[in-house]
Symmetry: C2
Subunit: 333 residues, 2 copies
Amino acid sequence: MIIDCHGHYTTTPPGVETWRNAQKDALVADPNHVGEKGTVVVSDDEIRDSIENNQLRLQRERGADLTIFSPRASWMAHHIGNEHTSTFWSQHQNELIKRVCDLYPENFAPVCQLPQSPGVSIDGSVAELERCVTEMGFIGCNVNPDPSGGHWNGPPLFDRYWWPLWEKMIELDVPGMIHVSASCNDHFFTTGSHYLGADTTAFMQALSSGFMSDFPGLRFVIPHGGGAVPFHWGRFKGMAQDKGWDFDGLLEHIWFDTCVYHQPGIDLLLDVVPVDNILFASEMVGAVRGINPETGEYWDDTKIYIENSSLTPQQKQQVFEDNTRRVYPRLGA
Amino acid sequence: MIIDCHGHYTTTPPGVETWRNAQKDALVADPNHVGEKGTVVVSDDEIRDSIENNQLRLQRERGADLTIFSPRASWMAHHIGNEHTSTFWSQHQNELIKRVCDLYPENFAPVCQLPQSPGVSIDGSVAELERCVTEMGFIGCNVNPDPSGGHWNGPPLFDRYWWPLWEKMIELDVPGMIHVSASCNDHFFTTGSHYLGADTTAFMQALSSGFMSDFPGLRFVIPHGGGAVPFHWGRFKGMAQDKGWDFDGLLEHIWFDTCVYHQPGIDLLLDVVPVDNILFASEMVGAVRGINPETGEYWDDTKIYIENSSLTPQQKQQVFEDNTRRVYPRLGA
């Protein structure tokens, strides 16, 4: 069985954007706008169309079986509006993911976004995580290390601000994928420098602080192959050695996905990162949608790179399924 | 001949820090403090000791010939104080580099820091660059894409704010190494996530905007192997293809150094980046100072990785010397 641990609902029917645009328009008039949750008008048929023509089609064409599926990352946009903005929006987005997974229970497993918002308590995110996991069967969450959208002016991951979330994740036995959203800072391009920079930043925060060792069972998935981390494996190991940081201990808490869109990058990832710490993923339909003219294959068809790699069949089984089941134990339920 | 294009004076005699601490103390009392340039009290013997026991010793032990040498990057700290702070500090740091290069003209060639300061015109940096190149024989400069020190709240590299600097660099025929300084943002660890994130960010700014094509002859060196860029070469190429950005054209303006501290990382760099766009560098004495217990060699002894690579002798000659002479034409003078 082949499990893709990183897919987003990037192809939502138009009713979703209509709801969100109305919310954003109200915020333009009044930044403190609260409003109400209201209704996202999307039919089951629209969901079927949007999924069957995109993620499900590609899943079948490429030969994967199951995608761990969460709301569109760039649309989380926690920096927009206030806590109410994020709460209503996250609830809708998560409920939409639940609908997809109820329609295609063999093909998709749900992961939620959290109603993070700059400057507010993490308690609302803890509550939404609990609702999603206990009431709707979600198996993980996405954690945005920078809800400001590229200003990086909130508390780092090692700050006790986050403790209630880490404790709830451990209690519910769900991992968090560390994933920023859209950049509203001109310096950072959302799906390029912002995503990859955040991946590296989160890893470094965990490595330099060592905070994860205080939370046995806390598990992070670092997407996009870990940003710059595997390419600079020697730099991070060497810095840890100089500074007395516990590099190997961190690997009991952190996994890297395989969203690296060329064979040499995947080969490096598989070469330096222990195979126990790698989870198959493609993030389709996502940041790169074209075909590599040199290979004739989609850039983001990462399954091909894993298959072409020098991993043994047993190791491929680990990456494609077994590791992911360990990290997401609620997947079996 | 083996030229290391990326070395910093990280081992300055104590008189340098004494001067800087006095300047910082005055700023604590008055953030608008101007003061005067004053004198950095460092003897030639102190410089000789600091260089011969460190960079020069390692250069000889490792078999390199010449280091392109600039002030300590993490100490540029453009976010501290005001424009006067940065001006006096940069002048001293650059004059110190000049003294090193005058003492060891066969071993070191000078690159300057710029007196950047958040919120002020780039004109002071243009003037200091001109002074360093025309009066002191400098061959390049370090350009800090985020003088705020991790807040990323100034103009991106594609903003016309930077144009006078790009024009002066072209006029003087000197490249700029894109290098941030110390992070004063708790999210970013200076020599880990901040350096690597900035490398990726600068590349992405150049790729997505295409601004460098408006400046024929403008040359950037992206250090630390280009941050995350080579590891995600397929992602960047695929994004460029989707968006219509000129990926290949950018490579007429950008070079990557080899400050990647393990063999698999260097092998990837050499595999995906055209050999014409790679410059040998180690950044010693720098971020990682220990020995890799698995190899018995210094993590940052990058010459070994190049030698062990599958490059042909002609390609190694390009990386070790020829490319660098093309990028730094004043090196021949």
